[in-house]
């Protein structure tokens, strides 16, 4: 049941996932709120993990925020941990902003 649900989500956001995975290979600018430094250290993750999720993860939720795409990207890190990254995307400016980590 859960697998079917996951498949549906993967299919629903297939285009968004493709966009994020492709963008991760481009010259995009990344904005990071300073408050995340402590949060990332506490969770033992860093910006490389965010990068990895963008490159290999899947979009599981999509919305808008200040005329930018607001997407939650879920990925499995190299050590097997799962990480959800909430990001806003302005594709025309090649700009990504980190909003949340879970």
């Amino acid at each position: 049941m859960a697998t079917n649900s996951n498949r549906k989500i993967v299919e629903k956001y297939r285009v968004e996932t493709e966009c994020v995975n492709q963008l991760a290979e481009l010259q995009y600018a990344l904005t990071v709120p300073s408050r995340f430094s402590a949060q990332m250290q506490a969770r033992n993750v860093d910006l490389l993990d965010v990068f990895h999720v963008m490159k290999h993860g899947q979009v599981v939720s999509s919305g808008m925020r200040d005329r930018a795409g607001l997407w939650v990207v879920r990925g499995i890190l190299l050590d097997g941990e799962s990480l959800d990254v909430t990001l806003t995307f302005r594709f025309s400016e090649l700009h990504v902003e980190l909003l949340d980590l879970a």
């Binding site: 010259q27 990344l30 990071v32 910006l47 990895h52 290999h56 090649l94």
Partner: protein, 203 residues
């Protein structure tokens, strides 16, 4: 350089930004390229923007790999992670068990000089996206050159890798591209490339 924003914040370009959030086991300093939003009242940094993040990660990896300081376990793990290589993949390349590589990365076992050379070359090629190059004479020449570079590299042992520091700058890829933007006033992303101007190894 400072610019006022609505909502009580200033935008500044940071002269020397220590990129702690990159998680590197050595110091990464980004010069004159990080734009930070600063709270006007408290002076606290609200957020910061790294241009060409993907390029920065690859440049940091390559800078460390060509540095002669011997790689420690934490650095090897970091460089592997930055290039998106799984432990089992690197173990296969180094012809060892993943368990052994795990011990090397946690500092329990040293990395042999031969394995270090193989790891450096493999990770460098991964960072340089070598696999995306089409088979050609140029690629063969590049392979030979990289083999020579990493065969000739003599890693120097060090006890405190935290003292290793790399400084990076962002340079426009070409003058023509920068002028085009000025003339048109377009707010398109400027094509820039990371460059390592200075490398400091203290101690």
């Amino acid at each position: 350089m400072s610019k006022k924003l609505h909502g009580g914040a200033d935008v500044n370009v940071i002269a020397a930004f220590h990129a702690v959030d990159l998680g590197a086991p050595f110091r990464v300093i980004l010069n004159d390229c990080i734009v930070a939003k600063i709270d006007s009242e408290t002076g606290e940094m609200l957020d910061y923007t790294i241009p060409d993040f993907e390029g920065l990660v690859r440049t940091v990896v390559m800078a460390r790999l060509v540095n002669e300081r011997k790689l420690n376990g934490a650095e090897l793990k970091y460089l592997r992670k930055a290039t998106g290589i799984k432990q089992v993949q690197l173990a296969q390349v180094l012809d060892c068990q993943p368990e052994h590589l795990s011990k090397v990365e946690s500092g329990k076992h040293p990395l042999s000089p031969t394995a270090e050379k193989v790891a450096r070359l493999f990770l460098f090629k991964a960072a340089a996206k070598h696999h995306k190059m089409p088979e050609s004479e140029e690629k063969t020449m590049l392979d030979n050159l990289l083999d020579q570079v990493f065969s000739g590299l003599k890693p120097v042992a060090a006890f405190d890798a935290e003292e290793l520091e790399f400084q990076f700058f962002l340079k426009p890829a070409s003058v023509g591209a920068a002028n085009d933007d000025e003339e048109t006033g377009a707010h398109e992303p400027q094509h820039c490339a990371w460059s390592k101007e200075l490398m400091v190894a203290c101690g």
